[in-house]
């Protein structure tokens, strides 16, 4: 079973305790944005077979939203970090680089 560590309460939460929240680091579009930008924000999603950054909620625990880096091809979890992050923390990116040299995901690498 998929297990993610909640970066807030520190619990190793099993999948049944969590709710998946889709792609991480989405830019919220608002009034004034064009059709394409809105379409991107609402419907277009990264769908890699491999490294992916996602939002998760520790629903049946502390209730907090957090972010996770995970491989969708192997279910390997690289790490989790707080939802308030603008980008994956350097420590996590280094950890991913050690295992997936030359990785990139959207604007991050």
């Amino acid at each position: 079973m998929l297990t993610l560590q909640c970066p807030y309460c520190g619990v190793d939460a099993e999948e049944t305790e969590l709710t998946a929240g889709g792609e991480a680091h989405l830019k919220r579009e608002t009034v004034g944005a064009g059709d394409e930008a809105f379409e991107g924000y609402l419907f277009m999603r990264e769908n890699p077979k491999g490294l992916h950054f996602e939002r998760w909620r520790h629903s049946y625990g502390c209730g907090k939203w957090f972010l996770a880096a995970r491989d969708t091809g192997t279910l390997e979890v690289f790490g989790t970090y707080p939802a308030q992050s603008k980008e994956p923390p350097l420590e996590l990116r280094d950890k991913i680089s050690a295992k997936r040299p030359g990785w990139s995901w959207r604007e991050f690498k």
């Binding site: 999948e15 998946a20 277009m44 999603r45 769908n47 890699p48 077979k49 992916h52 996602e54 969708t72």
Partner: protein
Amino acid sequence: MKRYSAFAIAREALRHHTGWDRAWRSPEPKKKYDAIIVGAGGHGLATAYYLGKNYGIKNVAILEKGWLGGGNTGRNTTIIRSNYLQDPSAAIYEKARSLYETMSQDLNYNVMFSPRGVMMLAQTQHEIRGYQRTAHANKLQGVVTEFISPQRVKELVPIINIDGPRYPVLGALWQSRGGTARHDAVAWGYARACSAMGMDVIQQCEVTGVRTEGGKVIGVDTTKGAIDCDKLGIVVAGHSGVLAEKAGFRLPIESLALQALVSEPIKPCMDVVVMANTVHGYMSQSDKGEMVIGGGTDGFNNYTQRGSFHHIEETVRALNETFPIISRLKMLRQWGGIVDMTGDRSPILSKTPVEGIFVNCGWGTGGFKAIPGSGWAMAELIAKGYSPLTDEFSMWRFREGKFIDESVAAGVAH
């Protein structure tokens, strides 16, 4: 291609079955094709078949990275129905269901289509209203369905418990002409018919790149070398996003794992397909006697073709109340497939930003039932550049806000 018939069986019996041909050839790829279809699952093979049959385009290759029908075509629960609320969905699914009726004769291959009837249980007041609405919509669309009483449900499915304490059966949407078919045979039958028309079904040939020139497709790179083409159909379900990226555009698709399981075989006890969408489980009995059970998808992106164990538990637990008979059945096998989900849970059959590339994906959790209709419509789109059946399923409908919102209509994935 030698025709299959009772006479052929008798003839071969007399010479120890040494005269059977291989059902399809396994050729090496040619340098160039008029059209290449990526993905030899049901939808890809059906697309190629109707390109040849309806439009005479026979210089076609169907490329498959694994083996024929080894993806979701061989992983679904084989249910065929067309009781959809929205007109565009009903049109394409009903086209498919009607093609299933004559498929065995058309392909000269027994796909074991069994129009045993599909029943969708209403277990809440909300569902009663929803399914009555669907039944009315189906009348207008020319799809034969009716809303039936709990007593009629019990007559059709004696093993059902209609007085469940939590979710009693309050009625059902009944499509008597829906049913099941042998899923592998659908892929094999189409592959055999395509091969007989001179098309090349090339297995273990993964597309590694898409070559374009001036916004137009000119070919693909594969593990068996570069192949040129005028038109390219991408029909690869869960891996659509990966291929679209190679071609340089994005699709509003996320890939999730969906599971199914079968029980040990038991004596015949249920001769219809039953779907219970409130508790989210569905069940039918295979010809071998196994109870075939399906449930919901995982909530997160996943390409591993195996799902989360707790979903099996949820599905079986949910069905236990409605079918007390299954509570002591042992489950024999479980498997997962990768389904491609769009924002409105309806498929995409569309041109793309690259000229000559067409995409057929997003069938999500309900693609098997649509295979012949999807192939029929996709072939028309590729051959003529327009199909009335695919018109509403364009990939640009999300930008325009013209959803085909079956997820809301069904209340669940469908």
